[in-house]
């Protein structure tokens, strides 16, 4: 039976790992992901997850272990954050290049230096080009559900790509809230045992990830992009099927629209701050402002974004990252790229919540005020929200 409980986001992820019946877990603890490691380790020790838990000395090794295990056809899980993701970086390309359906939860956290254990999304945004699917979640429930969906997406025969589930560190991992833990039988119906297309087998030897000479490398990279393109419809399908079994879904799986229909101003964002933005939009009591939450950042659902933003005169992208040197948020620059040639909406970049700075109701109100001002006058394109100037 599905059951309601109240739990930390980390625990919700561990429940998903248990329900997904994974075979191999390898992870190295790092704040704010630590409880995911602890909870899954305990579940394995207690026999609640029948998996091999490989203790490793670093995140580079954690990723190496799940890559190797996945290569043998095992369903695998790992989790990390920030510096840990950075240390894995080399192996992230290996997982995607070998087309291995590894699932990882990244508890989004700022990067050093200066050291910050707190939340922003610079870590996963800086890893946007590693060839992983990236799904950003808003709630603990969505973290659990998306971890389950991630296996379906990653293991789909036409996709075969690793998936990174991105959840805001502390803001979700360390927050308790009600979560419905799905029924095991229903999960096994939605997510049956993994049947790999091909795997390392001593009886039928093959090589994974050998050298590619210039005559094939480009084609292999193009195939990764094709798989990403194909993943778009798979993500939608999996979201629909999840909804059919569990009665919950998240927009169309790629994006979630909130009051965008008649909106002149549309805020675009990733992750948990969407909840705060929804409250601020609702308190207005009009239909002038809407929200587009991008759940799938990779693949980036260009058509969905274009369709959702079509009617907006001003688009304000709030994000917890900045591309230093470009001088704006990475998502803002991508939204601008997507909207190029379709309409003349103003696209503003709002850099907020870096290194754990609270994005308050007033922060969001301020962003919306700036966007409304942009309806009738010129405003700066880039805004550092709540920046102290003294």
């Amino acid at each position: 039976m599905a059951s309601w409980d109240i739990m930390h986001g980390s625990r919700a992820v561990a429940e998903a790992v248990r329900l997904a019946d994974v075979d191999v877990i390898a992870a190295y603890p790092i704040t704010p992901q630590t409880h995911i490691v602890e909870d899954t380790a305990k579940m394995v020790a207690d026999g609640d997850i029948r998996a091999e838990y490989v203790k490793v000395e670093s995140e580079h090794s954690a990723m190496s272990v799940v890559i190797a295990a996945s290569g043998t056809g095992a369903r695998t899980f790992t989790a990390t954050a920030s510096q840990g993701l950075a240390l894995m970086w080399e192996m992230l390309f290996v997982a995607s290049g070998m087309r291995l359906p590894v699932v990882m939860v990244n508890a989004n956290r700022a990067l050093s230096a200066p050291i910050s254990i707190w939340n922003d999304q610079q870590d996963s945004i800086a890893s946007r080009d590693v060839g992983w699917i990236q799904l950003y979640v808003e709630t603990n429930q969505e973290a659990l559900d998306t971890t389950l969906m991630a296996y379906r997406i990653a293991e789909d025969a036409g996709v075969q790509l690793p998936v990174m589930v991105c959840m805001d560190g502390f803001v979700l991992t360390h927050t308790v809230e009600p979560v419905e833990v799905p029924d095991e039988e229903q999960v096994s119906k939605f997510l049956p045992k993994f049947k790999p297309q091909q795997y390392l087998d001593p009886k039928d030897p093959m090589a994974l990830g050998p050298i590619a000479f210039p005559n094939v490398y480009t084609e292999l990279r193009a195939m990764q992009q094709q798989a990403m393109d194909g993943a778009m419809s798979v993500i939608e399908k999996v979201n629909d099927e999840f909804s059919a079994v569990f009665n919950r879904s998240y927009g169309n799986g790629l994006v979630e629209e909130f009051k965008t229909e008649d909106a002149e101003v549309i805020i675009v964002t990733l992750g948990s701050v969407a909840g705060t933005i929804k409250d601020v939009i609702d308190e207005r009591g009009d239909s002038k402002v809407g929200l587009l939450r991008i759940k799938s950042f990779r693949p980036l659902p260009e058509d969905e974004i274009r369709r959702a933003l079509k009617g907006a005169k001003v688009v304000g992208v709030i994000e917890k990252d900045v591309s230093i040197g470009l001088g704006k948020g990475a998502l803002a620059s991508e939204v601008r790229d997507v909207m190029y040639g379709s309409g003349d909406s103003k696209i503003l970049s709002f850099i907020a919540g870096l290194g754990g700075r609270d994005i308050t109701l007033d922060s969001v109100r301020g962003v919306i005020d700036t966007c409304e001002k942009a309806l009738s006058e010129d405003v700066e394109t880039v805004h550092w929200v709540d920046l102290k100037t003294e």
Partner: protein, 181 residues
């Protein structure tokens, strides 16, 4: 939506108090949320934690800046910070102290209750950890969560002797709150 801010010091179980309050609301069949202020919590350093409860899902993720209730576990904080900062009009502050409410001055004209929670904790738990005591007091004074909800939360979080003692502490605190009120 009801928003609560907890003040205490590292090592006093402030984060657990917020978690337990959200759990109490959950067992009262309300939507809820609790989280700490995510500091690098050192023993003795001022610590904040937050809780929210509502009849509909709690969506916002910002720290509680405009609380309906403030719970202060350690009265030595009153010399250091303005615990009533941002309190909503008609808001309530509950302080764990042996002093009377009339002996305490707050920066705002909040409704103020004082309870000697440390005494209850020392009597029942044998340790000056007041987080569960504060929840019994909160339930007794405000009625925002039921005493049954608080007890269920304590049962879920603690086991064995610790559970037994904390349940007793909660009950005594709940009754004491009745007197204060």
């Amino acid at each position: 939506m009801i928003e609560i801010r907890f003040h205490g010091r590292g090592g006093q179980g402030v984060v657990t108090a917020a978690d337990l309050l959200a759990m109490s609301a959950f067992y009262d069949e309300k939507y809820c949320q609790a989280f700490p202020s995510f500091g690098v919590e050192r023993r003795g350093a001022p610590v904040l934690a937050f809780a929210r409860m509502d009849d509909k899902p709690v969506r916002r993720r910002n720290q509680v800046a405009r609380p309906d209730y403030v719970l202060v576990q350690d009265s030595t904080l009153l010399d250091v910070i303005d615990v009533s900062s941002g309190l909503k009009e008609g808001g309530t502050v509950i302080i764990n102290t042996s002093k009377n409410a009339s002996e305490i001055e707050l920066a705002s004209d909040a409704t103020l209750y004082t309870v000697d929670g440390t005494k209850i904790a020392l009597d029942v738990l044998g340790r000056p950890i007041v987080n569960t005591v504060m929840l019994g007091i909160f339930s007794g004074i405000t009625g925002e969560v039921s005493i049954d909800g608080v007890k269920k939360a304590v049962e879920k979080r603690f086991s064995g002797k610790l559970q037994e003692k904390n349940l007793r502490a909660v009950e005594i605190a709940f009754e004491k709150a009745g007197e204060v009120k």
